[in-house]
């Protein structure tokens, strides 16, 4: 627990009782992951720039005549682009404040603040390495008590933050925490547009990227209340070099080089046993998932993945959430931008069960299964 004076003491903890491939928290088998408490989402916030760029507009800006119909290929109709004065920091700050408002809690109530952005642009395209973004965000939010740090795990960053917070809350070490990410990542697409020549180009995936901030607040649920049922993660590192991003050689910002086709293929193949493991741990079938929210890379990849997963799992989720058409791939924030959109639009019912699936560079596979419950009411919907 975090004491009143801010120090954290350890408490007696359960002993690990079962072996899984994934690092797993929660479930029905009575293993260590069962934890002492349940954690739940109480606020999902986002900050999306006003400015939009369609795929047609982006492809019209390429240096070379590519002949690529990007919208048809990826399903990305448009993406949001950071405007004047917007960057990773401002997007994260906006999302954090939005999440606090929905959670109806104050920043000083946060025990932990985790920043999980891939991009760390502050003041335009200046990438900040030290200090971590969490220091200035904590200060700007007024989260004085919060233990703060940054993490990085490619597009699985926010999900990794959820995994960390879930573990801390379940074991009783903290009561409430936030994970937040601000992705000013569309500039990778702008750099890619200068160099892409064909559909097989290793920078093609960069053209799908869009900017967004997102934040999620988790807290200890009242006894007996629903929340996160299972959270699991693993890294299948034989594929760690399939996607690499670093500062660009041709201009400001960064460039990303990926073998997107292989990444998609191995991602789908390697995810099947992880899905099975997480669902088994939760005591659920795939067709008992009401909303399936995969990482938003392209509409085609999502469709192919869902088809494969459903065939292999012997059933399909009731709804598959696709937001890549209007936001593009907003990297570490995609799941939470989708959740935020659906919550605001009143798409969920309280009893709905959601499965978030991360498949990200690394190769990271992360799964979070939770019941929506009281979140619905926080967005002005439900009973």
């Amino acid at each position: 627990m975090i004491d009143e004076d801010g120090s954290m003491d350890k408490r007696e903890a359960p002993v690990n009782g079962s072996e899984h491939w994934m690092a797993l928290e929660g479930g029905v088998d009575g293993s260590a992951g069962a934890g002492a408490y349940t954690s739940r989402f109480v606020g999902i916030g986002a900050s999306v720039p006003e400015q939009r760029v369609t795929s047609d507009e982006l492809m019209a800006s390429t240096t070379h005549r590519t002949g690529i119909d990007l919208e048809r290929l990826t399903g990305v109709r448009e993406r949001r682009i950071a405007g004047e004065g917007e960057d990773s920091y401002t997007l994260a700050l906006g999302a954090a404040r939005d999440a606090l408002a929905y959670a109806n809690c104050a920043a000083e109530d946060l025990d932990v603040l985790i920043v999980s952005s891939i991009t760390h642009y502050v003041g335009g395209l200046r990438m900040q390495l030290d200090p971590p973004l969490s220091v200035s965000l904590k200060h700007a939010l007024g989260a004085q008590r919060a233990l703060s740090f940054d993490i990085s795990n490619a597009c699985a960053g926010m999900m990794t933050g959820v995994f960390i917070l879930n573990d801390m809350i379940r074991s009783g070490r903290i009561r409430r925490g936030m994970v937040v990410s601000g992705e000013y990542i569309s500039q990778l697409g702008r750099n890619a547009a200068l160099e892409v020549r064909t559909m097989m180009d290793d920078q093609l995936a960069s053209l799908t990227l869009g900017d967004a901030g997102a934040a999620a607040i988790l807290e200890r649920a009242p006894e007996g209340a629903p929340g996160i049922e299972v959270a699991g993660f693993t890294t299948l590192a034989e594929h760690s070099r399939l996607c690499l991003a670093f500062p660009a050689k041709i201009g400001r910002g960064a460039s990303m080089y990926s073998d997107a086709r292989t990444l998609q293929e191995v991602g789908i193949e390697d995810t099947v046993p992880m899905l099975r493991e997480a669902l088994d741990q939760a005591g659920l079938r795939f067709d008992e998932i009401d909303y399936f929210i995969p990482h938003q890379t392209s509409a085609r990849a999502i469709k192919k993945g869902v088809k494969e997963f459903s065939e292999r799992m012997g059933g399909a989720p009731k709804h598959v959430v696709v937001t890549v058409d209007e936001f593009g791939n907003t990297s570490s924030t995609t799941h939470f931008v989708a959740l935020w959109k659906y919550l605001r639009e009143g798409r969920f019912a309280e009893q709905d069960r959601v499965l978030l699936l991360s498949i990200a560079s690394g190769l990271e596979v992360g799964i979070v299964i939770f019941k929506v419950d009281q979140l619905v009411g926080r967005y002005g919907h439900g009973h």
Partner: protein, 301 residues
């Protein structure tokens, strides 16, 4: 049940320069392998691998550097049909406090039973020697292997604090420099700049002292009980300065190996090279870094 350090190890650029010309990744790989060897463990036993290094090859932002280390050391690279357990890897960025922050996270997951064996790795090396500006940290990688032990206390408390009023004293960033003479495209390039103000060390000492004293007070620890002070802040002389402020005698300070004064994220692991955390030892870890951020931890061997 406590989180104990099974082993730690380092690898320096100086020691491997002739044979390997290593980057930060190779330094991390070497330290990780050496750490596992010292503990008589295999990479496949790892459930969790966290990288806390900041300055690495190409200033890679994706994937997590930890996943590259995981692949290089061969820890559960793919899911076999026979099952078993995998390894989960990600990066923590908290400047010079990253290693202790990562240890804090491993400690939590060991305590909850989510993992049984975790390793924290950190390395820093100038990504582009001759082109970066202000980079002065010695090239070193470090690794610390952690597990739960029913018979020992291990890490008993952590405290992290931030002092944002001093954020400007230690800054590093990558931005575009227009320069027709240096750029590959003939018009400029992205350059890493590290800027540490002269007053950083004094402020870091103030912040570290107050955080360490708060931790000691919360744990009812008399600083006279401290057998070992492991103090690092990316600048030379920090450990001795903090020892003086805390009233810890000089012989109880874990000294950094020659050539590693001012080591960045791997510094706590480097300091452990010269000492032994034997049974009964009370060790106080204190790291300070950009932010200013301070991480302090109490370890009872």
């Amino acid at each position: 049940m406590g989180t104990v350090i099974e082993a730690s190890a380092i690898a320096t650029a100086a020691a491997h320069q002739r044979t390997l010309a290593p980057g930060a990744l190779e330094l991390a790989d070497l330290a990780a392998r050496s750490c596992l060897d010292r503990a008589n463990r295999t990479a496949d036993e790892l459930d969790l691998l966290i990288n806390a290094g900041v300055y690495h090859d190409k200033i890679l932002s994706e994937p997590a550097f930890a996943s590259l280390i995981q692949e290089d050391i061969g820890a559960n690279l793919s899911h076999p049909a026979t099952g078993g357990h995998g390894t989960f890897s990600f990066d923590v960025y908290n400047g010079a406090c990253g290693l202790l922050t990562a240890i804090h996270l491993v400690d939590g997951m060991l305590a909850s039973g989510t993992v049984e064996l975790g390793m924290v790795v950190a390395s820093d090396l100038d990504p582009e020697p001759g082109l970066s500006e202000g980079f002065s940290f010695p090239g070193v990688g470090g690794a610390v292997l952690l597990s739960a032990d029913d018979s020992r206390l291990g890490f008993t408390a952590f405290r992290l604090a931030t002092f944002p009023e001093f954020a400007g004293l230690f800054q590093s960033y990558v931005d575009w420099h227009e320069d027709a003479g240096r750029g590959l495209a003939g018009h400029g390039r992205n350059i890493l700049t590290v800027d540490i103000a002269e007053s950083y060390t004094a402020r870091a000492l103030e912040c570290a002292e107050s955080t360490a004293r708060e931790l000691a007070a919360a744990q009812s620890l008399d600083l006279d009980e401290v057998d070992l002070l492991v103090a690092t802040a990316s600048v030379p002389g920090f450990a001795d300065g903090l020892a003086t402020r805390l009233g810890v005698s000089a012989e109880r300070v874990a000294a950094l190996p020659d050539g590693l004064a001012g080591a960045h994220t791997a510094a706590p692991a480097a300091a452990l090279e010269s000492v032994a955390l034997t049974s009964g030892t009370t060790a106080l870890f204190v790291s300070a870094g950009a932010g200013i951020t301070v991480a302090a931890a109490l370890y009872r061997g």
